[in-house]
């Protein structure tokens, strides 16, 4: 549905995007996750036709976003990073105007306005001027306009900025509901937002995608830490661990009460490391005190991917 291939964008000598490549399948909610300045908004602007790439291509539903930008605009709903509203209009006037720009007229317009106002809890504010409303309500109006006409593709650039926790929860629920029916790209730097709403994640850093996959795939590829504590001689423990995981490098330390503790970091490809170590220790007749497998969180995966150390 959305195919971004080798996209680059230079601003003079500075490169904002370098060989950006990713896909979002139909009905998928793709989390576009990255720190500030990673190139998320530039990518969103290119996808919406607001900026041209220096090289590379991007297509939405088979339409090239540069060459066929009018066709793309017809199937796109966009929530920009900035709260783009006309302060001198009422919420209803604003939605009516934007419905008109999308060619939604007559009864369809009335029905669509009812639908999106209901989805974003805007019924009570419909007659109020946008300049008199809180940032959260203006943001909800902005999200509502993107839903007008039930677009096939939604591009949401930091959509929950300025919302209170209850409103954030509502918007996340709304995004989750869209899964399967619309293709959504959610650009954000909020990890929990991605974990709660997205079926797949693309992690962006320094202008390109550094990791992508489902949450399970990303976590599965990340290293996990295994530590085991036994009451036994150090040599016996090391021998048992060598049998279990011959390629692992273990760090051993003496514990309290005649125990020894060994720990190692295993690559993500290692299947069920806890069970393997447990079987080896018990099989060697050692007294097992503790066995712990620390799996990485999405935050760890994200921090490693963008080149920072997890705390």
């Amino acid at each position: 549905m959305i195919d971004v291939s080798h996209l680059s964008k230079n601003y003079g000598p500075t490169s904002s995007l370098i060989d950006m490549t990713f896909r979002a399948e139909e009905g998928e909610v793709l989390g576009f996750l990255g720190p500030n300045g990673a190139g998320k908004s530039t990518t969103m602007r290119i996808l919406t036709g607001l900026a041209r790439p220096t090289s590379g291509t991007a297509t939405i539903a088979g339409f090239d976003v540069q060459r066929d930008h009018l066709a793309v605009r017809g199937i796109l709903g966009y929530v920009p990073e900035q709260t783009a509203v006309y302060p001198d209009m009422t919420v209803a006037g604003y939605l009516e105007f934007l419905a008109g720009t999308k060619g939604i007229v007559g009864r369809d317009r009335t029905r669509e306005m009812e639908r999106v106002s209901g989805a974003l809890n805007l019924q009570r504010e419909r007659g109020r001027l946008l300049r008199n409303l809180s940032k959260g309500t203006r943001q909800r109006a902005l999200i509502a306009q993107a839903l007008l006409g039930d677009p096939k593709v939604l591009i949401l650039d930091e959509p929950t900025v300025g919302l209170d926790p209850a409103q954030i929860n509502d918007v996340r629920g709304l995004i989750r509901e869209m899964a399967g029916r619309r293709t959504v790209i959610l650009s954000t730097h909020i990890l929990s937002e991605v974990e709660l709403t997205c079926s797949r994640v693309a992690i962006v850093a320094a202008g390109h995608v550094v990791a992508q996959g489902t949450r399970a795939e990303l976590l599965g590829r990340a290293p996990s830490k295994v530590s085991v504590t036994v009451r036994a001689e150090r040599a016996a423990l090391e021998a048992a661990l060598d049998v279990a995981l011959p390629n692992a490098v273990w760090a051993c330390a003496e514990g309290v009460g005649g125990t020894w503790c060994a720990s190692t970091v295993l690559p993500g490809e290692q299947q069920e490391p806890g069970a393997t170590v447990g079987r080896a220790v018990i099989g060697a007749g050692l007294e097992l005190h503790e066995l712990r497998v620390d799996r990485p969180s999405l935050e760890d995966v994200f921090l490693r991917a963008v080149g920072r150390k997890p705390a």
Binding site: R45, R73, P80, T83, A84, V85, D88, F97, T101, G103
Partner: protein, 250 residues
């Protein structure tokens, strides 16, 4: 109704609503109408006293100076109305949002232009009260009056297009206003600074005041009509290019 016409009407309605609910519009219209009325009354009193012995009729003595004054007021008023047209939309992100919808760029700019121009025509329509009042006092030369009024209407069209173009260049409404003032004053009175050379003659052909004076004497020459419509069309085209260039410059 074609999609383009529907979009044009949509944008015109929105912008007309925004302009006509703007306190600045009413303040400027009221202020400049009162100032024009003062000039009109002062000229009328002078004419009645017979102090302006050079003028043979009420049109030359009273209405022409009034229309010249209104022309000057337009130069002051129009940048204040046009400076926000695109600059504000750029600053608050609306221009980005609109350019991701199927809205045609030409429908957007023509809608904004028409709404602002119509608001200006409302102000100019008030100016017709002056010849209407004068008609009770003496013989008004209507071809000259109509010519002068049409000149103002056509001029306002060109001036709105110029102001809108400068508004499309920046997201600062104040900067857009300053650029519009500089642009309009050069366009209106540039020939005053042109010397007696080939370049000076060339500059005079492009200066508004040379063409508007012909209208104010009742001369509705095609060349002058073409000048005013070309002025509008040229700056509308530049605005369209400016909007389009946002994509390839961004």
């Amino acid at each position: 109704m074609s999609a383009f016409v529907r979009q044009l009407r949509l944008v015109t309605q929105r912008e007309l609503g925004a302009t006509l609910t703007m306190p600045l519009y009413f303040v400027l219209t009221g202020l400049f109408f009162m100032l024009a009325a003062s000039v009109f009354l002062a000229s009328l009193v002078d004419f009645a006293k017979g102090s302006d012995t050079m003028s043979l009729n009420v049109t030359d003595a009273v209405l022409r100076p009034t229309f010249h004054t209104i022309h000057f007021f337009m130069l002051v008023q129009i940048p204040l109305l046009t400076m926000r047209l695109f600059a504000e939309d750029r600053a608050n992100g609306m221009l980005d949002l609109l350019q991701t919808t199927p809205l045609n760029d030409w429908a957007l700019l023509l809608g904004k232009y028409l709404a602002t121009w119509l608001a200006q025509v409302v102000f100019l329509s008030l100016a017709l009260l002056f010849p209407a009042c004068t008609a009770f006092l003496g013989t008004v030369e209507w071809p000259i009056v109509i010519g002068s009024w049409l000149a103002l209407v056509l001029l306002s069209s060109g001036y709105v297009a110029v102001g809108m173009f400068f508004s499309s260049l920046t997201e600062s409404a104040v900067l857009a206003g300053v650029l519009s003032y500089v642009g309009l004053f050069v366009l209106a009175f540039g020939s005053a600074f042109a010397g007696a050379s080939v370049l000076g003659d060339f500059a005079r052909h492009f200066t508004v005041v040379e063409h508007v004076n012909a209208f104010f004497t009742g001369n509705l020459a095609w060349m002058n009509l073409c000048y005013f419509t070309s002025l509008t069309a040229f700056f509308l085209f530049l605005t369209a290019r400016s909007l389009e260039s946002r994509r390839w410059r961004a």
